[in-house]
Structures are given as C-alpha cells and as structure tokens.
Symmetry: C2
Subunit: 209 residues, 2 copies
C-alpha cells in the first residue's frame, strides 16, 4: 500500500493512526501542500480533488477521503475495531468524526485560508477565522461527548472519533486556540499513551519541517 500524504495534514494523520492501530505498514509518499504539490497533474490523476490523503492498495485501487479510507481498513482488518458493533453507538462515533472532518477541518484548511487571503483579508483575520472555527467546533464536540465513558472518546478503546479528534487538537494548538476542554485533553492523553498515535504525529514523519 502507498499512502499519499503530508506531515501536517490532519486528514493524512487520521489515516496514519488507523494504519498503525491495525498494525499495517504503507509506503509513505509526501506531497508538500504549501508548495502546491497536491495540484501537480500526476497527483490530480490519482486524486481529482487535489487533496491528501489518497491510499493506493496493493491491487492499485486508489481510495480517497480519510474517513472512508479508515472504514475500508476497518472492514478488511477488523481487529482492533474502529467502530462499535451497535448501530446507534456506531452512529454516535461517526457523528463525532464527521463533526470534525466535515464541519471543522475543511473550513479551516490551507485551501480555505488561502482563499481568504486572496480576497484581501489580513493575516490576523485569517488566523482568527481558523481559530474561531476550531474553537466553536471543538466546543460542540466536547458537548457531544458529555455522556460518554473514558478514557477514550467512546470508552475503553480508541475509535474513529479519537482518530479524528487528536489531529484536530493538534491544529487547535497551531492556531493558538485555548484548549478549554479537560475531557478532550484527557482523551488525547489516553491516545498518546499508544504508540499508534504517537508515531502518527506530524513531528514523527520524514517530511516534517
């Protein structure tokens, strides 16, 4: 398998965690997003969205969208499970992952922030945009997790929700968001006890700057 990614991309980071949790190894190919390498014709032929990650399977199939890739890995390698078996619990885990992957990350990613700059917004306003999207989004995630058991987002083992949360907390720090959610930080601490999470972090990647 080949994982096309970028050290700092939270979506790539999610897939790195999932691979690690499953004990799978993928060759990593890094595309420097700030240099626009994800818009090179060869990469667009692989992923027409021009986004990372993309996972190329051993059979040469190309998969895109981090959550879809994680669920694919989960289907092929069921242990340890990334989703609970119960449909209602499954829906709650997916909802938290999507609250991050749909409603926080795409609204504060590199592409959107560049669009804001292109519209003439001052850098201060651009940074404030990202911070406010993350702050508001994590506040909602914290409330969505108000009734769940720890130490992970949904109990005794990490799920797709933790896989989405840990990278988003990383982004929160990059944008100087005050991490005012003890529960979210406790979940992150539990995750970082695991090498699967630690070795997926941006700083541990070979393209880290």
């Amino acid at each position: 398998m080949i994982l096309h990614g970028y050290f700092r991309s939270t979506a790539s980071w999610r897939v790195r965690i999932a691979l690690n949790l499953k004990g799978l190894v993928a060759e990593q190919v890094f595309h420097h997003l700030r240099k626009g390498e994800q818009r090179a014709p060869e990469y667009l032929a692989l992923n027409p969205q021009g986004l990372v990650p993309a996972l190329v399977t051993d059979d040469g199939a190309v998969l895109t969208q981090s959550l879809a890739i994680c669920e694919y890995l989960d289907a092929l390698h069921p242990e340890p499970a990334l989703l609970p078996a119960d449909p209602l619990e499954q829906a709650r885990v997916r909802a938290v992952a999507q609250a991050i992957a749909c409603d926080i990350h795409p609204v504060q990613n590199l592409k959107v922030l560049q669009k804001l700059r292109d519209l003439g917004l001052a850098e201060e306003a651009v940074q404030a945009w990202a911070a406010s999207v993350i702050d508001e989004g994590l506040e909602a995630v914290d409330r969505l997790l108000a009734d769940t058991a720890g130490p992970f987002a949904f109990g005794a083992a990490p799920t797709l929700a933790d896989i989405a949360l840990v990278p988003q907390l990383g982004n929160a720090r990059r944008f100087n968001v005050a991490l005012r959610w003890p529960r979210l930080l406790a979940i992150e601490a539990a995750c970082l006890e695991l090498d699967a999470f630690r070795s997926a972090a941006p700083g541990a990647q070979s393209d880290a700057e």
Copy 2:
C-alpha cells in the same frame, strides 16, 4: 422518529431521501435557519453543533450528522442497501459522499457565507465564493465517477453517493453554477425518476418558502 431539519438544508435533504428510500416515515420538525432557530437553547440541547439535521429515534436517542444518520438507517433497515457490500466499492461510495459532505457543503453553507459577510465582503464576492467552491467540488466528483456505471452514481441503484449528490446539485443551481457535467445531470435525472428523491426536495416540504 422525529427529523429536525429545514427545507433548504442539503444535509436534511439527504436524510429525507434516505428515509424515503427505506420507506420510513419520520415526523418533521422544521427550524428556520435564516432566522437562527437552530441556535435556540432548546435545539442546542438536542444538537450542540446547532446544525440540522438531527434525528430523534423512537427510543429518544438523538443522532446528528447526516451521513452518520443515513448509515444508521441503513444498518437498521438493510433493504434497499445504501452502500455496496464490497469494502472497496463501499469506500468509493463513501468517498464521493464525503467529497460533497466534507469538502463542498460546509465551505459554502449559510454559516460560512455569513462569516464572510461579517468580515465585510460584498454580496457579490460571497456568492462567488459559494459558486467557486461548488464548481470546483463538483468537477472533482465528476472525475471520481468517471469510471463508474450508470444510471446512478454507482450502478443500478442509488447509494449514499446519490443521496449526497442530488441536494448538492440543487445548491449549485441556487448559486448559478453552470452545470457542465452531463454525467452528474444524468445521475440526477435517474434519481428524480424515483418518488423517494422527488418527495425529499425542498419545494415538497411544508416549510418551503
């Protein structure tokens, strides 16, 4: 079941299609997004994200995030299936749904456009933002579907991909995006042969203006 939604919300529209395809009936409660009713304390207690849809099950459980809700309905009522059985095909369907639900819709929704207005952007620039996000996103979706069989996005029956696509095409029209993708329009036409899609449209809802 109670579906909390808004006639024009594409995320609510997706869940309406899924319910219809499954032959399920939910009581519909509408929240007027332009009047900010989704931020009323009673609604925030239900869904801390302050977004529609939210589905309240017969047991009183509250589910959020449209794609998670659709997959929940699919797990409980497997026929007709909203996802193929094969994990690779499943991943492709989910990727298209997420390319829309993560990378198009949240970047052009009411909330983001209001943020742009609050930053002093002229209405023309706000509309152009939405149109360009949709145009670029649908172009990628069209390419992701380049090798799939019709008449639906993934063959002979509608899936989660069609459920995401049809509402997004509706939004494209609202923002005057030139619909330059014959394949996407053919998929939409196939969907609109089905009453499940027709009766889920914004114009068919009791809160339509």
